[in-house]
Symmetry: C2
Subunit: 341 residues, 2 copies
DNA sequence: TTGAAAGCGCTAACAA
DNA sequence: TTGTTAGCGCTTTCAA
């Protein structure tokens, strides 16, 4: 581990450390002759010089470290792409991401944030596993922060979320486009933005197609497979069976598949199903594959870090922006025209 | 952001910075009177002092940063618990984890490692998404490293993997214990340690129960749902249908469910199924729930970091250890006695 | 165009 | 038991 430092380079290149520093960082262009710059760089390369970020960070008050604190993203399959997007964006701007996952433990999260700050992170991406409205933790006051898959009540800080209403609208529209007019909605019963947004989108899409909203066709459950199964069982056994089901998420859609199976309904012949999430592991594994709306996790992660770095790099105009991303439709095999139209 | 430093504390406590440093870090116990120590700590707490890890790291040659470089763990649902375990272990020892995911891009990975080293990480956990045998990247030479879910060909570095053979043995044993003697194996066709290890365990478990190995009962496919579906379709339509299926992983088991469904076989009445992975998202979502062997991801992640920190903290006896963890059985509802025995 | 030197916040060897 | 002070590796002001 013979770490080679800037002075080793200076010695080898027969110049001063100042010159080396300037040659490697070229700030003001007109500082150094092109020749020495080239020379110094060659020597540095030769010696395998790599800067010590601890030292430069200490001096510059800039660690090139970004903290990402989350509730459960890291460990659940739902939003892995958020991390990837964030990581990519950070890496492209010369930063590293330090990801911490408190698993929903508020006290732990507090300590994690403090540890992150001790390491002098340049800013923090505060991410939630699913779109929610939150109060910004006090320990983040004064720290450059961007919210990922969350909005703050006071909107004092930038945030990025998916457009729930539009996602639902597009999903239902695609069902309508396939010829369906009798469309059930398997909703989540949790009181979260997605629940309300998607219901709204569902209603709007129906309205714009001149289909009357029938409350009997929306039934809620816990947002997992069993909740979807029960709810689907319910609405499919009802008096007027829908020909298509819009499901709150892919897991509930999987439950709908199971309900359809046990009722002897074949997808998509007897029943079309569309989900939200594009959870590869489920959507692609179902048979037939599940048509679904992809949550723009990668883009959101990317945007959050990009915005954060922008705010860090010019802290003058810290105009917080509330961003929303669209959810693209991913077609597989679970939507077809209804049997008799 | 009025950062308060050690000298602020010193001034406020009316002592020197040395005293503050010692009071807060208590190295050699007998350095400072209990009274002043208490006093200094109180003042520090009061001022909200938090050490600057960049500065102390620079001074100590110890960043308290651990790098975790992986191929795809971060972004796929398979091994999230490895990260959690690693994070927990790091956090308990006062370290932070910097996770980088190259998505399988070797060049990128090389640069990521170099970035990590620039940030002076104390060591690196080199993790793979699934158990494999690898050559250690050259850029890691001389850097404290532990392999996670991988072993190095030369065994010069510590590593931790799951016990594939034992996992399969236990899975098959539990099928035998339920009364099955006609057990199929849906294997992966990739040439990786898990493929061979699990086949071996399958064979050993049969042998110890006095069941003859029938090559016609093992059929391989791509390790995903469709591969499992095709393979299961195959073996279940064959001349002597097994009463139970041991599947390479939970996704293939899901495929087996689909095959069973389309053949009119009810699980677990007509067919028992057992998987490996305990992929919550699938195992719990299937109906009935999938009985499966859990891969010890959390424990492996934890162990890797613990071992790494041990090696970092006393670099004298760097005796690399090759660790193996057992896979516990997670019972849900997919195993029952065979219909007629 | 280049170099000397101060100092980022902290620790620890040395002095008192 | 406590304080003074020299750096850790780097950037940058100021002088040459």
């Amino acid at each position: 581990m013979g770490r080679v430092g800037i002075r080793d380079v200076a010695k080898a290149a027969q110049v001063s450390v100042t010159t080396v520093s300037h040659a490697l960082n070229d700030r003001r262009g007109s500082r150094i002759s092109a020749a020495t710059k080239e020379h110094v760089r060659a020597v540095a390369e030769d010696l395998g010089y790599a800067p010590n970020r601890l030292a430069s960070g200490l001096r510059n008050n800039r660690s090139y470290l970004i903290g990402l604190v989350s509730d459960e993203i890291a460990t659940t399959p739902f939003a892995g792409d958020m991390i990837l997007g964030a990581q990519d964006a950070a890496y492209e701007r010369g930063c590293l991401l330090m990801m911490l996952d408190a698993g929903g433990d508020g006290e732990l999260e507090k300590r994690q944030v403090s540890t992150l700050l001790q390491h002098q992170v340049d800013g923090i991406v505060y991410a939630r596993m699913y779109h929610q409205r939150i109060g910004l933790p006090v320990e983040l006051a004064g720290v450059p922060t961007v919210l990922l898959d969350a909005v703050s009540a006071d909107e004092k800080v930038s945030s990025v979320i998916p457009d729930e209403v539009e996602a639902a609208r597009l999903a239902v529209r695609s069902l309508v486009a396939a010829g369906h007019r009798h469309i059930g909605f398997i909703n989540n019963l949790d009181d979260i933005p997605a629940t309300h947004g998607r219901l709204l989108g569902y209603q709007e899409a129906l309205k714009e197609s001149g289909i009357e909203f029938d409350p009997a066709l929306v039934v809620a459950g816990v947002p997992e497979t069993n909740g979807g199964r029960a709810a689907a069982m319910d609405v499919l056994s009802g008096p007027s069976r829908p020909t298509a089901l819009f499901c709150f998420n892919d897991q509930m859609a999987m439950g709908a598949y199971q309900a359809a199976g046990s009722l002897g309904l074949e997808i998509p012949r007897d029943l079309s199903v569309i989900g939200i999430d594009n959870l590869e592991l489920i959507a692609a594994a179902l048979w037939p594959g599940l048509t679904t709306m992809a949550l723009p996790h990668y883009d959101m992660g990317r945007w959050a870090v990009k915005q954060l770095l922008n705010e860090i790099e010019k802290p003058d105009d810290v105009e917080p922006v509330q961003m929303m991303f669209d959810c693209p439709l991913v077609q597989r095999g679970s939507v077809a025209p209804p049997l008799q139209i």
